[in-house]
């Protein structure tokens, strides 16, 4: 047809063409779809040997709890972890993206990633999108220059702090930190304070709940304590357990291997260089 697609070269950045359509639809009564937010409490603190990050595990979709036990502490590098608050998709996508970029950078340089690298990559990306990528992050890690803890706001500004909280439960957690933090904490004291801060968020903020995740990063070593505390167990659990009686009957069994088992001879042809 005459109107066959003449591909314009792709323009960079956001295209706001559909905003007028969305406005018109909203006026006609269409409710915008709700998205999965991690109304959250995330915290980080620097102790004498490194960094401790903590997060709650509730993901909300408006007034409903969408995921009772989600993971908010994302992997960035073997020595860097990042907690994310805000829109769940945004935090996941942004941390995954920067994590891959860091991996490529590690291959390129042959060195351990630095926290400021992750910080700059995240900050540049978020600023570029002028706050529309709604990800509020607490980035922590230990590299050759020492332990670092940063907060990154959705518009792209960053802070370097000894202790930080983000998310809807940040005030409750910050009140615990402001009253209990001191320099030179040991690992156990640090974990205790982080747990107390997250619990303050869990019990005093409606957007945070369920369990407490903790991640301890020190030089050359990390400990990811998933569900370190579970202060909200199910109240009524059937003591007899659940038996699913009507199982499907197995009438006959035949196993067909899909891959051929091939013998690999050690002194085979070496790969051409």
């Amino acid at each position: 047809m005459a109107k066959s697609s003449i591909d314009l070269p792709p323009k960079g950045g956001f295209s706001f063409d559909l905003c007028r359509r969305n406005d018109m639809l909203q006026k006609k009564g269409l409710k915008p779809q709700s998205f999965l937010k991690t109304g959250t409490t995330i915290v980080g603190l620097i102790f004498q040997d490194g960094v401790i990050l903590g997060a709650d595990t509730r993901a909300t979709e408006g007034p409903i709890v969408a995921d009772k036990n989600c993971e908010k502490i994302h992997y960035m590098a073997p020595n860097i972890y990042c907690c994310g608050a805000g829109t769940a998709a945004d935090t996941e996508a942004v941390t995954d993206m920067v994590s891959s970029q860091l991996q490529l950078h590690r291959y390129h340089t042959g060195r351990e990633s630095r926290v400021v690298t992750a910080l700059t990559l995240l900050k540049r990306h978020l600023f570029n999108y002028q706050g529309h990528v709604s990800a509020a992050l607490v980035l922590g890690g230990v590299d050759v220059t020492g332990p670092h803890l940063h907060t990154i706001y959705p518009h792209g500004s960053t802070d370097t702090l000894p202790f930080a909280t983000m998310g809807s439960g940040s005030l409750a957690a910050m009140s615990v930190f402001e009253s209990k933090f001191k320099e030179g904490l040991t690992k156990d004291e640090g974990i205790k304070i982080v747990c107390e801060a997250i619990l303050a968020g869990v019990f005093n903020d409606l957007g945070s709940g369920s369990n407490v995740d903790v991640c301890v990063i020190t030089k050359g070593h990390k400990e990811y304590l998933r569900n370190h505390m579970q202060p909200n167990p199910r109240t009524y659990v059937n003591p007899k357990g659940f038996t699913f009686s009507k199982k499907t009957e197995v009438l006959a069994t035949t196993i067909t291997p899909l891959k051929e088992k091939v013998e690999v001879i050690e002194a085979g042809d070496a790969m051409e260089e």
Binding site: V116, T160, L161, P162, S175, S179, E183, A200
Partner: protein, 232 residues
């Protein structure tokens, strides 16, 4: 929509007030507030007394619009005066004053002309201690520890964890100071001038204002960009 309506009625900024916190001790109540009356973003009046004794048995603390607070004090003055004129040996206790305040606030809210305050009322009568709060929309409740404004978010978690039935005066003051310190760090409209007041069976005592010690010597604050020259 409600707030926009009010905005057109009161285009001038309200003289607002920062948060306070307080709780039961055994047969005593403590109230604590900062002495600030701000005008929008300016810290205009730094010696406003926001804690007032009411009658023989109660203490009232307020945050929000100061002129409305002064109006409420006049209403309460009249109330206590009429009660004293009966001269029947009975006097209005904290529960009664709290009820009166709730009715006043709720009625004004129904007429779309609220008194823009969050009030805290504490008191002791016949050995019974009482601590209650009333909002500008008429929400009222009684609890062992209450706070207004940002204190709800910053001080309540600490109070929930650390308040218990048998606090002594010193422990209570320390706990409230802890809360006020956090508020001082994290509320932009707070100042370092705090006043405590206590009410027991014997009566109300307002202590002179004092300031809290703050700690700014974290090494990370001194040199935040160590290891990352040029960043911030």
């Amino acid at each position: 929509m409600y707030v926009v309506y009010l905005y057109t009625q009161h285009p001038k900024n309200a003289v607002s007030v920062a948060s306070e916190s307080d709780f039961h001790g055994h047969s005593q109540c403590f109230l604590k507030s900062t002495l600030i009356g701000s005008y929008g973003s300016t810290l205009r009046y730094k010696s406003i007394d926001r804690l007032k004794p009411i009658g023989k048995h109660s203490l009232l603390g307020a945050s929000g619009e100061i002129s409305d607070f002064q109006e409420i004090l006049r209403y309460l003055d009249e109330l206590i005066l009429y009660d004293n004129m009966w001269d029947d040996g009975n006097s209005l206790g904290p529960k009664e004053v709290h009820n009166y305040l709730t009715r006043v606030m709720y009625n004004r809210r129904n007429k779309f002309n609220p008194l823009w305050n969050a009030l805290v009322l504490g008191g002791v009568k016949n050995g019974q201690k009482y601590l209650g709060m009333v909002n500008m929309i008429g929400i009222n409740f009684e609890d062992n520890h209450v706070a207004t404004g940002l204190g709800n978010h910053l001080a309540r978690p600490i109070l929930r964890d650390e308040w218990h039935e048998n606090l002594t005066f010193e422990e209570g003051v320390k706990l409230l100071e802890k809360c006020m310190r956090v508020l001082l760090y994290r509320d932009r409209s707070a100042v370092n001038k705090i006043q405590i007041s206590k009410i027991t069976e014997e009566g109300a005592t307002l202590f002179p204002p004092f300031s809290l010690k703050t700690y700014w010597e974290f090494s990370a604050f001194k040199n935040p960009t160590v290891g990352a020259e040029g960043s911030w």
